[in-house]
Symmetry: C2
Subunit: 274 residues, 2 copies
């Protein structure tokens, strides 16, 4: 395994530099990457400090670091010239192409200038997050008319984090409802869900994985026993199939994948973007 | 205002394509962009469908769409040649540079191949999310020794969503504690927090904004009155200053900015990346 240091350099949060850089470096299996984020480099002094830190690292290691940069402000970007290291400057590469296509100059401050829009966006995310919290785990069923989505699954199948992610990332109002033993035994869709069949989406999971997750939470008793876990999953899948409720196996998916798959399969519109 | 259609094309979730494209198009203030994500295009048939959809859109609108593409698989990427539209192919642009720097071929499947790693990552995010939920709003104070961070602030200053975002995005264990009227009146740090001063971080907010947020939640009574809101914020800021607890104003920051700022200012290490 070879090792390289990677810097993510930004005058804002660094989230974009990290996302883009990460998607590239994960394509190289033979390398390990030591990742360092340098966010909020929004003055010349901070740029100079970052350059010094990168240079120190390069000398210490004897190899050139890889630097993913999303500096938006022109003056900062022009000043940011590392002595050693391979620089991938995302805006430098892609903005000129877009400027020529759109026949328009980009305005480096645009991202930060939309105060009002951002406030609405913030409110929406908060409101959707509160909705997910208040309608988690079947706690309340009286708000389902306001839900964009209602996730359905057995205990610990991943409903809560998926709902929270959908709320925080996309502003989607997602409730979730746990299928209880009684409901699984009758095999019938709970009455309270029947008016909302178009909003339902199922989460399933492999028995081995669910058993492990439950065992960590409550090691003894029926809850984490393989027999119980297998019964619940089998019954839940049968119920989902019977009512033709779309579902996804959460076993080997990341939360991003779950959320993106649910959006793609339901056509639910995200209320906010990126 | 001019308008353009933007496509985000991916054989996975589309999150990277959206992040890249969004960071670029927000630099053009004179344009409105109609954004369409086409995720999970992981077969030749799906690629062909996407090409047809993009072509239809171009003909319907009479302008060439802008297409941000993060197809990882070589065969799909080579097939994806839109007849009309400006294509920004992220991997096509950046992978060759990295391959040459690392003297190594990229392996297109790598991102998906890390089953075991992903499972640990998933577990960590879930565990951190549960920690945030269980230690929200001062509900429990007995777990603070396990916390990476304890956010402190008045009611509705943004503590819960910030904790949840830190958990889901970075796997950070973040609790939060609401400063009550009584505590604000004495001006003293609550006893239960004293052993954990190194983990505390304050959230403040502008009175007008807090008043509006609280008003939407509970329109009548003292809770949303300007007098009460102003008192709480002034007292909270005084308390944070007295105990030299770092803090950030949440009024005009996105959740991403809050989270990234807190990480940068505390040096708390994220447990997961990208």
């Amino acid at each position: 395994m070879q090792c390289r240091t990677v810097f993510f350099v930004s005058d804002q949060t660094g989230v974009t530099a990290e996302t883009l850089g990460h998607s590239l470096i994960t394509q190289f299996e033979n390398y390990e990457f030591d990742q360092i984020t340098l966010p909020f480099l929004d003055t010349v002094d901070k740029i100079d400090e970052a350059l010094a830190a990168i240079n120190d690292k390069a000398e210490e290691q004897g190899t050139a670091p890889i630097i993913f940069c999303t500096l938006v402000q022109d003056d900062l970007r022009q000043r940011f010239k590392p002595k050693r290291g391979m620089l991938i400057d995302f805006f430098d590469v892609h903005l000129p192409v877009l400027e020529s296509e759109l026949r328009s100059k980009s305005s480096p401050k645009a991202g930060q200038a939309h105060g009002l829009v951002d406030e609405n966006r913030y409110d929406l995310r908060i409101d959707a997050t509160n909705f997910a919290l208040n309608n988690d785990d079947g706690a309340r069923t009286s708000n389902y008319h306001r839900a964009d989505l209602i996730l359905l699954g057995v205990s610990r199948s991943g409903k809560t984090p998926t709902c929270l992610y959908l709320a925080l990332t996309y502003g989607i109002y997602a409730a979730n409802y746990p299928l209880s033993d009684d409901e699984l035994e009758t095999g019938k869709l709970p009455e309270v869900l029947k008016p909302y069949q178009g909003k339902l989406y199922g989460l399933t999971i492999k028995p081995q994985r669910l058993q492990r997750i439950r065992h960590e939470r409550r090691p003894t008793g029926r809850y984490a026993s393989m027999q119980q876990v297998s019964f619940e999953i089998r019954a839940a899948e049968a119920l989902l199939d019977r009512y033709r409720i779309k579902h996804i196996d959460t076993t080997s998916s990341s939360i991003e994948e779950l959320a993106a798959t649910i959006l793609a399969n339901t056509g639910v519109e995200r209320r906010i973007r990126g």
